[in-house]
Symmetry: C2
Subunit: 653 residues, 2 copies
Amino acid sequence: MPVFTEESSPEMLQRAAGLREPPLPRVSAPAPVNEDRTTEGSKHEVVIIGTGPAGIMLSLMLTRYGVSNLPVEKVTSMIIPGQADGLQPRTLEVLRQLGLSEEIFSQGFPNHRIAFWNPGKPGEPRLVRTAVADDVTVPSRYPHKILLAAGRVVNILERQMNKYGNEVERGTEFVSFEFVGGEFPVKVTLKDVVTGRVYSVFAKHLVGADGAHSKVREQIGAKLQGESTDYIWGVVDAVLKTDFPDIRKRCAIHSDAASIMAIPREKIENQQYMTRLYTQLEENVDATSTVSGSAVGEEEAKKRARERRARVTLPRILDQVKRTMEPFNVEVVKVDWWAAYQIGQRVATKFALKDAQGTDRVFIMGDACHTHSPKAGQGMNVSMMDGYNLGWKLAYELLGLAPAGSLLPTYEFERKDIAQQLIDFDNAFASKFSQKMAGPEEGGLTHEEFFKVFHTGGGFTSGCGIEYQQSNLVTKNRVKGLNEALNPDLGLLRAGRRLINVPVRRFSDDAPCDLHDVLPLNGNYVVLVVLPQNFKEEKLQQKLAYLTSSLPRKFVRGVVQPYVVHPLKSNDDVEWSDFPKALKEDFEWNFLGDVTGQAYKTWGVSKEHGVCGVLRPDGVFGGVWDLEELVPKGAVESYLTANLTQPSTKSFL
Amino acid sequence: MPVFTEESSPEMLQRAAGLREPPLPRVSAPAPVNEDRTTEGSKHEVVIIGTGPAGIMLSLMLTRYGVSNLPVEKVTSMIIPGQADGLQPRTLEVLRQLGLSEEIFSQGFPNHRIAFWNPGKPGEPRLVRTAVADDVTVPSRYPHKILLAAGRVVNILERQMNKYGNEVERGTEFVSFEFVGGEFPVKVTLKDVVTGRVYSVFAKHLVGADGAHSKVREQIGAKLQGESTDYIWGVVDAVLKTDFPDIRKRCAIHSDAASIMAIPREKIENQQYMTRLYTQLEENVDATSTVSGSAVGEEEAKKRARERRARVTLPRILDQVKRTMEPFNVEVVKVDWWAAYQIGQRVATKFALKDAQGTDRVFIMGDACHTHSPKAGQGMNVSMMDGYNLGWKLAYELLGLAPAGSLLPTYEFERKDIAQQLIDFDNAFASKFSQKMAGPEEGGLTHEEFFKVFHTGGGFTSGCGIEYQQSNLVTKNRVKGLNEALNPDLGLLRAGRRLINVPVRRFSDDAPCDLHDVLPLNGNYVVLVVLPQNFKEEKLQQKLAYLTSSLPRKFVRGVVQPYVVHPLKSNDDVEWSDFPKALKEDFEWNFLGDVTGQAYKTWGVSKEHGVCGVLRPDGVFGGVWDLEELVPKGAVESYLTANLTQPSTKSFL
Ligand SMILES: Cc1cc2nc3c(=O)[nH]c(=O)nc-3n(C[C@H](O)[C@H](O)[C@H](O)COP(=O)(O)OP(=O)(O)OC[C@H]3O[C@@H](n4cnc5c(N)ncnc54)[C@H](O)[C@@H]3O)c2cc1C
Ligand SMILES: Cc1cc2nc3c(=O)[nH]c(=O)nc-3n(C[C@H](O)[C@H](O)[C@H](O)COP(=O)(O)OP(=O)(O)OC[C@H]3O[C@@H](n4cnc5c(N)ncnc54)[C@H](O)[C@@H]3O)c2cc1C
């Protein structure tokens, strides 16, 4: 098109190269700048050991938020052959809010349904389908899992991190750390695994995301506690040719030969889909064979376990699979990966170590603090969510946005509780899974018993039912405006739980959208005002002006963002002029209509009272309060003031 | 998790680094390999001039399909400050099927609604809202536009192309071409704009996607034909502060001062959203001032046009905007880009040039073959879709998948018709837009007239109502199994139109999904079998066996993929054993249930008869036939045989 005059701003060109979400504001001293990140004496706000799911998620969050961090990984190749393969609904919600879902959704396999196969009664075929059920039993934006090799998932996160300007230092092994005081008090000794060069860097915080054999865990003096027996399992990823009808559903198959968990996986080639098969191979072994610190019989236990492990081979796993699935025919077209592993349920005694001044300086995350069986598909998820929980807390601490030291202790407080729940669930589920199925008269496990364990764990395993306990970050109290009789797993607004997604219609452009898409995870707190029906009344308008104008201005610019939801059936029933000016002027984008009525209903909010909640940067409610308590200087302001710094010079908008 | 034995296939590691869709199979000679792509004499299957929306789309498609191509761009910087900003629903469907929607959706602005503002009647305010309507008036997977700077869109496509292993040669200008015969008969002379070096490369085909001033167009001897007047317009991208309530909707504002088209745009910073404003500034100018080839008065016309253009400045545009939007207050916070341009409606006389042997060797696409006003938001879309249409045809020709020369003539045949429709629509719309609004008594344009033009163009402007005419690639015929009385814009299956998306439930895993997601754009043809209710009958089962087993095997492996839809209310009402074995064995993934009933209804398919359609690689129906016509060797096979090569050695599966 013939343009004869044209002028553009310099930023326009930059933006075209790739819009990135802005970092959080920094109130603290600038991040250290190193010519070379791995020379002796270089300084980093955070050093992260290991870039499995936990480490890469933490590094991505810190990088997006603008915190200098050095992720190191001892493996030299780009890719770690991933073992995990299941992304749970809550993890998917987070990945979506980070703008990572498309690659994951289109390359992974969405698993919606689970089928249960059990031995037929006399006269029936050897294997019969007892039930088919939804795999995810609680409401969620994505009511399914996505199955995709962990290596691929980690790679997708790493490439977003690269886009934000950070890189993994590969071939770099953690050796040891010590506290040395000063501004960067953690001296971390690293080793270049290719050249053998050993050197030290200095950090404000060190995080061990170094997996089940974590050296960082060892050095902070944490022990693994829990069950004393381990299970020996085999797992195969293969392309199958089979007449088993449910091979594209998740299947719990109990035959009289053995038990299999079959998991449908992503396409690896045109028309070739993978299946993952788990099967238990040996009786349980004494955990002393892998856990250090036990005394008597350790040698003998180790020897016996070694013998058992040596018996595990690919042909034996495949043979057991075939026998279990008879009378169906299972041909293996191609084996992509197989492994044998030995696992128990254990949690680390501590997740963090303080320095002499009482500041949490070293943390462990992921498999470094909890080990458990893979059958409930939790490891990658809980590990990533550990990193997700720690990420914003470290960022607020280091950027000077939170009172010094106030947030860090909540990491262990919140995540250890989750780890313990995980281990308890896994214990119940894995042991049930290993049991032989039988009719009740025979005294074995019934399908009903198994199904019950599966079903009641749904809130927890999906990640959607996770609830953090009371702390400075989570204020639990009674709320008149909420129907607290509702089952919170179904979406009730509740302190310590994530905000569930609902469809809304934005006011400014009258566009239908998902609430979660309106709330990208950019690290800010959200004040969510759910208006009562009588919002036009003067009293309410005053509250709204306070919440959308004077309150956010008390904190560092951009850190507190108000969002307002109205309960009317149509956006046409209301005008900008019905509201305080600040709403249009500063937060035009954040005003939403619950035109379908789903939000108030799902959230349990009464239209008579309305409520006001505060979402932490991880999308979890710090608290939910009645609107009446909010003027002047009510609960919301107390909560925010306790957890955020207030700048002396106001720099808002 | 303690793994004690582990083995993985080498491909597993590669996949983790980034799953890419496989290329199309190649039956022809291998692509030429060049040490350096830009040395004198290097060979390429396709050379593409210009990497705006049209060129980058073509290059991406060819690269994905496995065709060697050299895209060159005279601009040296990575980014072209994009002018277009609107992606239409059909373009969005295609971008989604290419796996590119998430970046575009999360960074762009989804525009759902359009508001019409007109002069108030006596006693009313100066400007009143006459109507608010849905911006997209036909059903589509995405019932809205996405607004995002073209530079950003092009960059997103380019980065996917990079992932598939191709790169744009920047700072490279097209000079000329000539036919020289031989295997690579097009000699293309290029110039390095930095060093001044001039050199020639050889291609099987040359494509000019070099914009409105196309040199390739000039050299194939095509002329632009159409209107003889040009409009002079100003356009500004700015962040505004305004009390105009509808600034986040698309607005057609006619005041007594002037007319404005206001378009809401993406966020460029925290809480800063852009708005694009178009306004006409001068009376129309004689097109001879820009179009060559006119005779009398050319000098004088040019002089006058030059004077008019010189009067267009940013302050004048902004002044006109402010006057038009009174009594609302409009403050400009920041101007991101502004331009003034002069435009008429013209189409090139030809889109392709044949060599002496009658083979189409040179093509032009995008603005090189059609120019028109930007107000209907078409340029970027029609240009990208030109590339999308040509891409698979060139690929089939060059990979040896189609009978030589059979597909290429359909490019001009199909796209010239679209270009003409575009120009006709734009002519009607732009001239209406420029007219002053008035009550009917005053003889001016009424809101109703304007709205009518807007509304009736909806099928075309959304891209969803595009219909290609009868050719070897599009067979139109009467179909008993279709309710052809339905408005085809609403989704009726129809030769020459795209397949509309519907929700389905896949059989193998009982997962709800979108049909478009089940059909990624990997370049294959699809045989879509929509079963009648009585599909279990022997006669139907025979047809199904033929369509899903013997028919696909007649062509190069993977090029014809059957998909089957059943009309039952639940997937539980049918078992694999009800169907031919080949369906589960070879196409397990492609069997879908219309459990909501929406597919048959939207498509107009009668459950009594069913139908069978063939989708070309661009998702457009080549034909739709009654199932009865299909055995033996019926219409579907004739269609495929005419358009596809049949390998002598069968290499299927
Ligand atoms: C067979 C199998 C199946 C599984 N299936 C599932 C599943 O379906 N779903 C699920 O959610 N989970 C599953 N898991 C568990 C899952 O793989 C783990 O829970 C998850 O990988 C833990 O993530 P992480 O980041 O904590 O640790 P890891 O993934 O173990 O990553 C630790 C990283 O640290 C590096 N490292 C270790 N020591 C050092 C050092 N000294 N210096 C530098 N780098 C170091 C390692 O090289 C490694 O890259 C499965 C595990 C196995 C073995
Ligand atoms: C102000 C304005 C607003 C617009 N708004 C919209 C809108 O909202 N929606 C919409 O869909 N469209 C809009 N358009 C139109 C849209 O920008 C064009 O239709 C679209 O860019 C055409 O794409 P293209 O690839 O055909 O050509 P172009 O985008 O013009 O790209 C041509 C490329 O070829 C290169 N080139 C030219 N000559 C040579 C040579 N000799 N050698 C090498 N390279 C060469 C150029 O550098 C350029 O990069 C607008 C246009 C303008 C001016």
